[in-house]
């Protein structure tokens, strides 16, 4: 057990920090993940990723031949940690970097890798994810968007929903049904679809926070060349599952939670109760103490997983535990903030009476969205219980 980094890593960390000090966009940069409505913001966000990539800090673990650094996980973790600590804006190309990139590295053809990977890194091409459908949410495998192979093209028809960033993405990685006769997990394929293709219609959805970000994407006879199939035909479910098990940047998530909690503590010092700082109130202290325990457990759990990744050990159901634990914890942190703010909790960002620019109520809702999205807490619990503990699945429904 050793919680220190070897000297060369500490040097690297200092380097990253120094670089960030010089290059970080100014506060209020408007580069938050959900505020990409404005094309100028999209452009600025792309510039930021390009800059970061230029410094060598994006997708460092990817092989060199595709634009990565071939770096180790620890190096990448340090960058993630420092980016969060510096409150750097998120990467606009996240979906490409975290989801489709690793999938292509594992399952893609050589041509696909060469064609797509470098532009993911440079933000030349932004990706969005086409998984959920109106009738396929928790039950993702029941998706109905059809792709028929006609000649050397797939003809895609159907509808995706909750597609973040579809309004400006260049490409979508998409699950489509290619064999409607097969059992539901076995008739799905993983397709790369250019968003400019004729027949694609994107309708933005407004979230309860008032922000845009999600979209509905409709496909009407969209033609996709068959080279854009990733993996084997009808093996798309397995391809997508493997991606889910890819490194989920747990340390980044843990650091984000730590930062959120640190902001909560600052808030507790700022707010008052009976004329004294709220942080001195025993009730508040109990609540903060209880949260601190969960925050720190998550932090060291991330270190443990980082080490496990370094040592190449199996990851098991950890992605699900992480998703469940971190989203619920983030939401609880924001809930505590609301109680500290009390009547000022619900003031919006437009209000001059808002504390922290109304972020807490927005994040209270947003974190609940994170609990629901990407596999609800219930779905994660199913996975943990069924795959992790070997508990039996729901029985199949008797017809009628």
């Amino acid at each position: 057990m050793d919680l220190t980094y070897p000297p060369q890593y500490e040097d690297f960390r200092r380097e990253v920090r120094a670089w960030l000090r010089r290059n970080l966009p100014a506060r209020g940069h408007g580069l938050g993940g959900l505020e990409y409505d404005d094309p100028r913001r999209v452009e600025r966000a792309k510039q930021w990723q390009r800059k970061l990539y230029g410094a060598g800090y994006v997708a460092m673990t990817w092989p060199k031949e595709y634009g990565g650094q071939g770096a180790d996980v620890l190096t990448q973790a340090i960058v993630h940690e420092e980016l969060v600590r510096a409150q750097a804006p998120p990467l606009i190309g996240q979906m490409g970097i975290q989801m489709v990139g690793p999938t292509l590295i594992q399952f893609g053809s050589e041509e696909q890798k060469r064609r797509f990977l470098p532009k993911i890194l440079t933000a030349e091409e932004i990706w969005c994810q086409g998984y959920s459908e109106p009738n396929a949410g928790s039950d993702l495998a029941s998706l109905q968007t059809r792709a028929e192979l006609v000649g050397d093209e797939f003809i895609v028809n159907g509808q995706k929903i909750w597609t973040s960033n579809a309004q400006f993405a260049d490409w979508m990685f998409c699950l489509v049904r290619t064999d409607p006769q097969a059992p539901k997990h076995r008739g799905i394929s993983y397709l790369l679809i250019e968003m400019k293709s004729p027949g694609i219609r994107v309708r933005p959805l407004v979230q309860m926070t008032g922000e845009r970000g999600f979209n509905e994407v409709c496909f009407e006879n969209v033609r996709v060349p068959c080279e854009n199939l990733v993996g084997e035909l009808n093996q798309g479910w397995q391809v997508a599952q493997a991606t889910l098990l890819h490194e989920r940047n747990m340390l980044g998530a843990a650091t984000t939670t730590q930062e959120l909690f640190a902001r909560l503590v600052r808030l507790a010092k700022l707010c008052t109760r009976q004329g004294r700082p709220a942080v001195e109130d025993p009730v508040v202290r109990q609540r903060l103490g209880a949260l601190a325990m969960r925050v720190e457990a998550m932090r060291f759990h991330a270190y443990r997983q980082l080490t496990t990744t370094v040592l190449g050990r199996p990851r098991g159901i950890e992605a699900s535990v992480n998703k469940l634990v971190s989203t619920e914890l983030n939401h609880d942190i924001t809930g505590c903030a609301l109680d500290l703010l009390a009547s000022y909790a619900t003031q919006t960002s437009e209000s001059k009476f808002a504390v922290d620019r109304g972020k807490w109520i927005r994040e209270f809702m947003f974190t609940l969205g994170m609990i629901i999205g990407g596999g609800t807490s219930e779905i994660q619990k199913n996975i943990i219980a069924e795959r992790g503990l070997g508990l039996p699945r729901e029985p199949r429904v008797a017809p009628g």
Partner: protein
Amino acid sequence: MNFALSPEQELLQRGARDFLAHQWPAAAAHTVFHPDHDGYPRKLYENMAQLGWLGLLAPVEFGGVGGTCLDAALLAEELGRAAVPGPYLANTLSILVLRQIGAASVRRQWLPLLAKGAAVLTLAWFEENAFAWPFRPQTRGSIGRFGLRLNGTKRFVLDAHVADGLLVVCTIPVRQTRLTAIALVPKDRRGVTIHPMNDVDRTRRPCEVVLEDVIVPRRSVIAIGSQAEKLLARLQNAAAVFLAADCLGGAERLLEMAVEYAKVRYQFGRPIGSFQAVKHRCAEMVAQIEPARSLLWYAAHAVDALPRHATYAASLAKGHLSEVFSQVAENALRVLGGIGFTWEHDLHIWFKRAQWNRFAFGSPEWHRERVAQECRW
């Protein structure tokens, strides 16, 4: 021993529910989220006035119904269920003030107007500290040659932007000390400035009211000293009960939404309501809501008829029901999933109302402490 609503009360409630289902469907509630909407649907209020709701607590001789707080709480529950915006609460609390003061001319002037929805009065009560009691107003009045001069900043003044007058809680120097007083200030008086306090719950419109050397006649002071304090204490309990009732109605509405959706949404070849994760969540909401309803009835009844228990009961009800409402809001969203997270869906209206209700007129935590004090723990 008859812990039940009277037939008239049941009628009032059923009638209100039916009326609002038609007159204020969720689609209407969505409209107040439009940036230009001032949060005061006048047409609806005209109808509400005709039904006698606006004057429910006003004495009969002033065009009111002379109802009880329990009556008003039952109505508040329905307003909560429908997420009705506008100055209902502001007016109702103002009526509670006016019906207990001595100044006959003020009563004669305002109560009939309020009862028929022809005017809006609101309480300019709280200040920076929001709903934190015990509350010493920093807003000061001084008596001079031209009358009463007021200076101070009021916050969380409900619907001040559409009000005709403000009931300003302040202190006034009397001999060596300063006494709490309530002064009626027409809103168009010079020196009154109103700033909206934008809330995520657009069905509510709290405002900041800045009073800078506002001068009103001396007779504008409608209550002073212990009379004013007793009145405000009673008002505080009534407000807590009305908020609690609103929470109950909102929680019921959210439960209905969740249950409806759970019946028709299919995943894995079954309605999601057949999965225990969803089914038990809904059952828990029922198990929270039903006993809480009984608690609310008791609290409203206590405000009407059991003065020694009123504070205790009001705090029990507001503390508990606002907690229940927030939890139900959270759970309903979890049942609805993505669709409930959209602006288009109705859910967010009540979700946000739950957040506002949680803190307005005392947070759950604040009321729990007050319960402890009332029990002399």
